[in-house]
Every structure is written in structure tokens, then in C-alpha cells.
């Protein structure tokens, strides 16, 4: 079955791109192809001009819907895990992990095991783990979907802070139109399966984004434009 069709997308450095679309339109498939976890049946993914045919964690970090932390490792060791795979010396990797936990606001929770962390803290650890190798690109597959509303809003702001501090290129898949418009510079709207790009919306809200903007007229117009596409796709 064809999941995606004719996707042609170029993302400049440091851009925050959200991908939305009706359920089952292949958003997650797109992300796992970009991550090099799956190969497309045709076409290529280039990252800095290099083809992604296998995961390249040093260039592309990944955060999933579930934090997927290793349950037997502390928060610190979980963050250090990707560089442990590259045989970075223990002291060096723990230091890098500690810096990432500080960046994601988890100082003090280094030694806790995943089951001792709240859902929001687990996702912070997952983000820290995605950033620990200092990749240029961060792929996020509905990272806040399993969190409650408040935690999701707090983490959204945290993500924007981290993004503005680190200047990563972010590809962020989400179900939430609010989240997409609030966070992104640009929202890619996919059609129903097979997913095609039906709209490419530039979000011209100023930064830093604030909660008040979510009730502004401009925010509503942008959200409405995206919603029309999704509703049409769901109807068909």
C-alpha cells in the first residue's frame, strides 16, 4: 500500500517545521523515512547533501511519542546512551549528558530511574537524549501526544526555548493544530493516504511566541486554513 506520494520538501537550517495531516496519512512513516529507519520505495532523503539510507544519529536526533527510555538506566545514563554506543569515554559522556539534562530542566533528577519520573520528565529525558550528540536536525514524532494538556503546553514552551538556544532544525509531527501553529515557522499539511503535501503554511507570528497569541486573529486564520484541508481529507 502506498503511504506517501510525491513528497518534495526542503527544510532550511534552523527552521521549525510542523507536519500535520489526517490520521493515517503517513506522517510517522515520513518521519521514519527521514530518520533512515525505513527506506522509501522510491526517492531519496538528503541531509547536508548526504543520502539517509540508515539512521545517522550524529546528524539526526529522534524523539518518539513514547519516551522509550531504557527502564534499567538512570536518567543520566539514558541520555548518555547514544554516545555510549559510539564508545565515547565514560567521563566525557556523563558530562555531555549532564549538560543536556540541565538544558532540558532536569538538573537534580540525574539518578532517577524512568519509573520514578513523570510523563513530562520522561519526554524531557528523551529530548535530552535526542540532542546529546549535537545533531543538526531533531525529528519529533508526536512527542507530547501522550501527555496531559498542561504538561504539553509547558513542554511546548520548553521546546521553543531549547530550539532558540540550540538553533536545531526541527521536524515535528503532531495531531494538534494548536501545537503546530504555536510552535512552528512553517506547517506542512498532508492529505489522506497516500499522503501528499496539500499546503505549506508559513506561520508569520512573531517570536518569542506567547500564550496570548493563541487567541489572536492571525492564529485563528492560520489554524482555520489548515483545518479546512484536514476536514476535506477526512470527509473523502
Amino acid at each position: 500500500m502506498l503511504a506517501l506520494d510525491g513528497i518534495d520538501l526542503e527544510v532550511p537550517d534552523s527552521q521549525f517545521v510542523a507536519v500535520v495531516g489526517p490520521s493515517g496519512c503517513g506522517k510517522s512513516t515520513l518521519l521514519s523515512i527521514v530518520a533512515g529507519l525505513r527506506l522509501p520505495s522510491s526517492g531519496t532523503v538528503l541531509c547536508d547533501g548526504e543520502a539517509m539510507t540508515a539512521p545517522m544519529p550524529r546528524k539526526v536526533g529522534m524523539v518518539f511519542q513514547e519516551a522509550n527510555l531504557l527502564p534499567w538506566l538512570s536518567a543520566l545514563d539514558n541520555v548518555a546512551f547514544p554516545i555510549k554506543l559510539r564508545r565515547v569515554a565514560r567521563r566525557e559522556r556523563l558530562e555531555a549528558a549532564r549538560r543536556m539534562l540541565e538544558l532540558t530542566g532536569l538538573t537534580g533528577a540525574e539518578d532517577r530511574l524512568p519509573h520514578q519520573l513523570s510523563g513530562g520528565m520522561k519526554q524531557r529525558v528523551a529530548i535530552a537524549r535526542g540532542l546529546v550528540q549535537n545533531p543538526g536536525v531533531l525529528l519529533m514524532d508526536e512527542p507530547f501526544a501522550s501527555l496531559d494538556e498542561q504538561t504539553r503546553m509547558v513542554l511546548g514552551d520548553e521546546l521553543l526555548r531549547i530550539w532558540s538556544e540550540t538553533k536545531k532544525t526541527v521536524l515535528f509531527v503532531t495531531h494538534s493544530l494548536n501545537e503546530a501553529v504555536y510552535l512552528a515557522d512553517r506547517v506542512i499539511v498532508l492529505s489522506a493516504r497516500p499522503g501528499r503535501v496539500v499546503d505549506d503554511v508559513a506561520v508569520d507570528l512573531p517570536r518569542p511566541r506567547t500564550f496570548a497569541m493563541t487567541s489572536s486573529e492571525r492564529f485563528g486564520i492560520l489554524k482555520d486554513r489548515i483545518w479546512q484541508h484536514i476536514r476535506n481529507a477526512e470527509r473523502r
Partner: protein, 247 residues
């Protein structure tokens, strides 16, 4: 002491008291169950012989344990990692599991003789399949999300096994050890009872043919002690695994 602990201790004491008092009161015939004190008396009286049988039995248990659990856990890991091997072998293994393996013991005696070798072979074979299936269940339950995460983080196949599959399957390996150990103890004692010249099972059978009930129960007390020891060691290991942390 917590209330739970008090009730547990009370239960143990009640069982031991019943063991002592019911035969004495004539409610249970002494030939079937002699009072606890008589069993302990027989154990004290024949201690040289009973304790002398332990090295044989322990040795057989240890070797069979190593074969059954080492091999069983390893085979479980391999089958867990290879869907093709699983599809091919699992139906065969499951049907083999249904065979009462004790029918093979006479054959084992022909192959390996009356000595410890036939006991080891039988007990190891008896425990192998259940141990393997328990270990396999743990590997199969490994979350595919963790494996995919590791892959996205750039883990090689060897690293996926070393850092994800092995630690994730540690609890089920301990469960496999618990089951395998219990079955090996059963296997060795049964094999000794069916045909042997030494060991605890042999002593129990010999006393039984002489209608020496206290002597039989003295042996049973020692078997209980062995399974109790196994239980204590396994609990310790389980606690270690619960707190297990790789770094």
C-alpha cells in the same frame, strides 16, 4: 513484625505442630506420616549416611543445573532473536514438552549407567525445555519500541543484543533459573529413587522398601532443605535484578 509476617510464622508453626501432633494423636497412621520429632530423630541417628549422600546429590544437581539453565536460557535467547528458527522448531519443542520424559529414564540408565551421569542427563533433559520456553517468553515480550529506539540511536546489531535484549531479558532469565532449578532438583531426586546406588533419593527409596517411615521422612526433610536453599538464593538474585542498573 508486620501482621503479615506474624500470620506467616503462625502458619509455619501450625503446619509443623500438625505434623507432630496428628500422628501422635492417632489421627494419621504413623506408617504414613511419622511425627516430625521421629523423622528428625532418624535424621540425627543416621546423620553420617544422610549427610554422606548429599555430595553426590548436590553434585548431580549443580551439573544438571548448569546444563539445563545455561543451555535453556541460551537456546531461548537464540530462538527469541530468530523468528525463522522459532517458526521451524517451536512446534517440535512444544510437542516434545508434552512427552512425560520420565519414560526415558530407563534408556538413560542403559546409556549412562547407574552412576551420577544418568541422573544428570535425565534432570538436565527434564528441565531444559520448560527453562527454554520461560526464557523465550521473556525475549518475545521485549518491546519492539525499545529495539527501534536503539536502532534510531545508531546501535549495531551486536549492541542491540548487548545493551537492549540481554538486560531486558534478565528478569525472565531469573524466572527461567527458578523454574529450571526446581525441576532439576525434582529430576535428580526422582532419578535417584528409580535406580541408583547413592544419593538422597536412593536413601529415601531404600528406607521405604524397609517400611522405615521416619527414615523416609528424614530424607524428605533434607529435600525440603535443598529446595528451601534454592528458593532463598533465587530471591536474593531477584532482588539484585530488580535493582539492576547497567551504566
Amino acid at each position: 513484625m508486620t501482621r503479615l509476617r506474624v500470620s506467616q510464622v503462625t502458619l509455619y508453626v501450625a503446619i509443623l505442630a500438625a505434623w507432630e501432633l496428628l500422628p501422635r494423636a492417632g489421627i494419621v497412621p504413623r506408617l504414613f506420616v511419622p511425627p516430625l520429632s521421629e523423622a528428625l530423630g532418624a535424621l540425627a541417628l543416621g546423620r553420617a549416611e544422610y549427610l554422606g549422600s548429599l555430595p553426590t546429590t548436590f553434585g548431580e544437581i549443580l551439573v544438571a543445573y548448569a546444563i539445563a539453565c545455561g543451555g535453556g536460557i541460551l537456546a531461548g535467547q537464540i530462538l527469541g532473536a530468530s523468528p525463522a528458527a522459532r517458526r521451524m522448531l517451536l512446534p517440535l519443542i512444544r510437542s516434545a514438552y508434552a512427552v512425560p520424559l520420565v519414560v526415558l529414564y530407563p534408556v538413560m540408565m542403559v546409556w549412562f549407567g547407574l552412576g551420577p551421569e544418568s541422573k544428570i542427563a535425565f534432570a538436565a533433559l527434564y528441565a531444559f525445555i520448560p527453562t527454554m520456553l520461560t526464557a523465550l517468553a521473556g525475549v518475545a515480550a521485549l518491546s519492539p519500541a525499545l529495539a527501534e529506539t536503539a536502532r534510531a540511536l545508531g546501535a549495531t546489531r551486536a549492541q542491540q543484543v548487548l545493551y537492549i535484549a540481554l538486560p531486558a531479558s534478565l528478569p525472565s532469565s531469573v524466572a527461567a533459573l527458578r523454574l529450571g532449578g526446581a525441576l532439576v532438583i525434582v529430576g535428580v531426586i526422582v532419578a535417584e529413587m528409580l535406580g541408583a546406588g547413592a544419593g538422597l533419593g536412593f536413601l529415601i527409596t531404600r528406607q521405604r522398601t524397609m517400611l522405615d517411615s521416619p527414615g523416609v521422612y528424614a530424607g524428605i526433610v533434607l529435600v525440603l532443605a535443598i529446595t528451601g536453599l534454592h528458593e532463598v538464593l533465587l530471591r536474593r538474585l531477584e532482588r539484585r535484578v530488580a535493582a539492576f542498573r547497567a551504566s
